[in-house]
Symmetry: C2
Subunit: 163 residues, 2 copies
DNA sequence: GTTCGTGCAAATCTTTTGCAGTTTC
DNA sequence: GAAACTGCAAAAGATTTGCACGAAC
């Protein structure tokens, strides 16, 4: 199962959110607490800002819980998404990536490692449709994706010119 | 604006681009001109701003050319994308959508008809990463997706409150 | 005890690939 | 005529679904 678009291994920004346990979050949202759900959500909370494919989660967690079916990962992610704890985004190959979604944020996609990071842009307020488009569309939300290089990839790829 | 058929057929904005024929575009890009390619590109040029799935194109065009395999549609779209005539974007279900890409633009997604439109936002210049993020990421491009309702859906869905 | 969740495997759906036969240049 | 395209069918992946068993409340 070769994933072209690996989710990020590094946390994006230190998003300041109170660290409740997975169990607390599950109960808060009225979901039953099962070992599988706790395991999945725990891992995602530990690395806020990272985005995982269902398969990455399955690979990462099966060692901790041999009874963890891939189908269950999908079920759990769908539930977590339904209650708003997790967001789904789509990589360039169309496969789904999941990350915790406790505070509003936008995304940065690193073209080097093909990882997704959470970011919080500024200057969103002045973003609007052109006058022409404004009559055609009723905008409710805006999603911004920055593309470029994360620090690690920028460092390892670009010698930044002759010394 | 001379569009009927489905909701998804409406043009986004009147993007002012010289209308070359599909054949001209193919030759310009150094691609061989086959009936299949001409047909696909012709249809896409006729409805600039619309985005099609491979299957929609197949369904729409097979009546005009019975010898048109779905696999060929994928081949053609990949070629057109390679030479920069077509862009690929991913719907919320991860399936690929294709549209002509002659001028830079961003996108509007209508949550009603679930169609994608090309738009040209203003105020992009003031969009930037937060100070925190700026040291972490080297931004090269930005993609903006507006979400909301297109005019048709806004009109037909919202009676604008209780009387 | 009832309801909900999980494991497993099969099914579905989209996209890619391999190859022989045609078409374009 | 050579190189590039296409049709067809099979393959590859990712995600969903159906159902019986087991766990949470």
């Amino acid at each position: 199962m070769v994933r072209k678009e690996l989710a990020s291994l590094q946390p994006a920004s230190p998003i300041p959110t109170k660290q409740f346990s997975a169990e607390t979050w599950l109960r808060t949202k009225g979901l039953r607490v099962t070992p599988q759900r706790r395991l999945v959500l725990d891992r995602m909370l530990q690395q806020m800002g990272r985005h995982w494919s269902a398969d990455e989660l399955h690979e990462a967690l099966r060692s901790q819980l041999s009874e963890l079916a891939r189908g269950t990962i999908y079920n759990i992610l769908a539930e977590l998404r339904r209650v708003g704890l997790v967001e789904e985004l789509r990589g360039h190959d169309g496969s789904a990536l999941y990350g915790v979604h406790l505070v509003p944020h936008h995304h940065f996609f690193c073209e080097g490692c093909r990882c997704w990071f959470d970011v919080t842009p500024v200057g969103l307020g002045s973003l609007a449709l052109s006058a022409d488009d404004r009559g055609r569309f009723d905008v409710r939300t805006v999603a911004v994706v920055f593309h470029g290089r994360c620090a690690d990839c920028a460092r390892s790829e670009a010698p930044s010119g002759p010394p």
